[in-house]
């Protein structure tokens, strides 16, 4: 009696399992290049929708809003863009299966704007071997452009961190020849790239980095590092940090009574919202006159309030991402990349294939991206696969960024 029951249960379990898994079986395969049908283009990407890096989810939200806007106006060469974002919690171990899912199960046309350096590093060889475009990686690591020959399907977008650091270095060399520089930097490739660029920009100038303090992203706060930097007696503070720590840097420097002659804050941490936070209603004078770079239009900057592109930005956000905070400049970043992607896809023609896209990206020029600062061109050619290499310098004055001077162009070498 018992044995029969046991076997019956086993049979039931087995058939349930088989039935369930059969139900889980995947979708049918497509024809021609994956991700492209006569009416749709499927793009996929990974982003930290949850976890410590979740503020960066705004990037994909902005891009998604822009794609919806483009779709509403006829799409790209008659095709609507479907943009699928998968959460990887900023953990590369999750990026890999998620990306494989996008490529092998969802069969995307291209992996678009996945966020994070190590996250994209984790999947780069895989995507290259599968010949899937790793399009406009959301990371400023230099490797995307530098290692183009080895990984031809991968292309970055934003000015690399090294380029950014180099601009600061050149700026200081030019305007503050004898400066003594103290740097707070995040102890990973991001911070180190910025620092490396800074030092390169300072080469052959009398301005020197006399103190550099790393901090780990897992530190609760950076008061000790700031104290050490202050003790070096430097007259220039450079902050290469993520927003939370950049704000802390200002706060602790102020608390300690340190008054460096000039402060530089990197682009990732210099959003108006962050700067306003650090300024603490005018109580922190260090924030005034901070220098940073910009290549995108900041939605909270007065200069762009009546700009038609920024008005369009707000309209798109209100319509397609109504719950999001439109003041968050990461949305603009997402839209700028999405605009560029749409441009590239359009230029690839009605007969859309990965090969066609790759050809376009090989020698790509996109002028007039409405979300980028005027004059900045997205361009690749020959050996230069860094799409954006121009920036403007800006100075924080009386609660707002004001750009000054002309475009700085960086030649990646």
């Amino acid at each position: 009696m018992n044995r029969k029951l046991t076997f019956a249960c086993l049979a039931l379990v087995a058939s349930l399992a088989l039935g369930a898994t059969a139900a889980l079986a995947g979708t049918a395969r497509g024809t021609s290049d994956p991700g492209v049908t006569s009416s749709t283009i499927l793009l996929g990407g990974t982003a930290p929708l949850t976890g410590l890096a979740s503020p960066y989810a705004s990037v994909s939200r902005g891009a998604d809003a822009y794609f919806k806007y483009v779709n509403a106006r006829g799409g790209v060469n008659g095709r609507t863009i479907i943009y699928r974002v998968v959460d990887d919690g900023y953990n590369p171990a999750l990026t890999v299966p998620a990306t494989r899912q996008l490529v092998e199960q969802d069969r995307v046309f291209a992996v678009f704007n996945s966020l994070g350096t190590s996250q994209n590093l984790a999947v780069r060889p895989y995507l290259t071997s599968m010949k899937v475009p790793q399009l406009f990686v959301a990371s400023g690591a230099t490797t995307w452009g530098r290692d183009y020959e080895q990984f031809p399907y991968t292309i970055g977008f934003q000015p690399s961190y090294q380029a950014e650091g180099w601009v600061y270095g050149k700026y200081l060399a030019r305007t503050a020849p004898g400066a003594t520089i103290a740097v707070l930097f995040q102890n990973d490739d991001y911070g180190k790239d910025l620092l490396g660029g800074l030092k390169r920009g300072l080469q052959r100038s009398k301005a020197k980095v006399i103190a550099a303090q790393p901090y780990d992203p897992t530190s609760p706060e950076v008061s000790s590092q700031i104290a050490k930097l202050k003790a070096s007696g430097a007259d220039t503070l450079v902050i290469f940090a993520t927003p939370t720590f950049a704000v802390q840097a200002y706060t602790f420097a102020h608390k300690l009574g340190w008054k460096p002659r000039r402060v530089i804050n990197n682009a990732v941490a210099s959003a108006s919202t962050t700067m306003a936070r650090a300024a603490a209603d005018g109580q922190n004078p260090l924030v005034n006159s901070t220098i940073s770079i910009a290549y995108l239009k900041d939605p909270t900057v007065a200069e762009w309030q009546s700009d038609p592109a920024m008005k369009l930005y707000r309209t798109i956000m209100a319509r397609y991402a109504p719950d999001a905070n439109a003041d968050d400049p990461l949305h603009v970043y997402g839209m700028a990349v999405a605009w560029t992607a749409v441009d590239a896809l359009r230029k690839s023609g009605k007969d859309l294939t990965r090969a066609a896209l790759q050809k376009v990206l090989d020698r790509f020029t996109a002028v007039g991206n409405p979300f980028m600062l005027p004059g900045i061109i997205v361009k690749t050619s020959g050996k230069d696969h860094f799409p954006v290499e121009q920036v403007l310098l800006q100075r924080w004055q009386n609660g707002a960024w004001k750009s000054f001077g002309g475009l700085w162009g960086y030649r990646a070498s």
């Binding site: 088989l18 494989r100 092998e104 590093l121 895989y126």
Partner: protein
């Protein structure tokens, strides 16, 4: 062979058959997800031996997985060792680490041990980053496409069957998992297993019976770390990439979650625990992508599971089978 043993054997064989046949019924990508279930199962078996059977809490088993994973990665990239060949070495290295940790850990108990192992879990990513020259630091080590990684670029032929990467991973992971399950079962039903349980149930009684607490704890740590090392090695092979962030604190925590959900002190529910760890995060995201919502759902479900099912999944199964049996034995009024 006793009836219970026979029954267990039959269930196990049925399960193994289902596992081996599964890839024919699901697509590649699902197979890949199920390979991760197998990988987590290996780690959960090890952790259950330590925590469920020997009563030593570990919130740091992700660290042993990291040791296994990095051993595999470094051997493959720097020394050209084939992926499968790295697995025994990873097991050994992690096992030794477990034994070494076991000695001081044997002096701690309960929450102190939990804190100490938690500390190890938190420190591990930092230490990996620190020893950059050896581990590749934050940029990590990418294994994809290297000749040492089987089937990543071209399918492999095994016993006349061609396997692509996903299916190869699946069979490798589950072969290890099933083998590990059998080994654990054998260990736990023998003298060592009884000694483990004695340590868990009452250290005083154990000592009185002549069981050496330290020795048993060290052995338990060593074995469980070895399992975690195997899981870590498989994890590296499956993910094809290791860096400090691939073995975060969350991993250690989720392993313990998996053991509790599966059922502490019992092997049969661990598959459920492994399925929980792998699929619950994905499932909660399918409910809502709004930032924060998946975590809320996960937390609520976790709390409910622990509150409602003291014995985890295997406890539930036991209760159900008991009810069924009771229904059989007593004639209905």
């Amino acid at each position: 062979m006793s009836r219970t043993t026979l029954r267990t054997l039959l269930v196990f064989v049925a399960f193994a058959v289902v596992v081996m046949v599964l890839p024919a019924f699901v697509n590649d990508f699902r197979a890949q997800q199920f390979s991760y279930v197998g990988i987590y199962l290996i780690a959960l078996i090890g952790l259950d031996i330590l925590t469920g059977y020997t009563g030593q809490i570990s919130l740091g088993h992700g660290a042993f997985m990291a040791i296994g994973g990095y051993t595999t990665a470094i051997l493959m990239i720097d020394h050209g060792v084939k992926d499968i060949a790295t697995i025994p070495i990873a097991i050994l290295v992690a096992g030794v680490a477990g034994v070494l940790f076991g000695f001081p850990a044997a002096r701690l108990s309960g929450l102190y041990l939990a804190l100490a192992t938690f500390g190890i879990a938190v420190a591990t990513p930092e230490l990996i980053k620190r020893f950059e020259g050896f581990t590749g630091g934050g940029s990590g080590v990418n294994l994809f496409g290297t000749p040492e990684l089987t089937a990543s670029l071209t399918p492999v032929r095994l016993a006349g069957v061609e396997l692509n990467f996903n299916n190869w991973l699946y069979y490798l992971a589950w072969t290890l998992a099933l083998a590990g399950y059998v080994i654990a079962w054998l260990i736990l039903r023998g003298r060592t297993g009884r000694a483990f349980r004695a340590v868990r149930d009452s250290e005083t009684a154990a000592v009185s019976s002549g069981v050496s607490l330290t020795r048993m704890k060290v052995i338990a740590f060593g074995i469980s770390a070895a399992y975690a090392g195997a899981a870590g090695a498989m994890f590296a092979i499956a993910t094809t990439y290791v860096n400090p962030d691939t073995f975060p604190v969350a991993l250690s925590i989720f392993l313990l979650v998996g053991v509790v959900v599966g059922g502490l002190g019992s092997l049969k529910g661990l598959v459920v625990g492994a399925v929980f760890i792998q699929f619950m995060p994905l499932w909660t995201q399918s409910i809502s992508k709004k930032p924060g919502a998946p975590a809320v759902v996960y937390g609520v479900i976790l709390i409910l599971v622990v509150l409602a099912l003291p014995g985890g999944a295997s406890g539930l199964v036991s209760r159900v089978t008991q009810l069924v049996r009771r229904g059989q034995d007593f004639p209905k009024p």
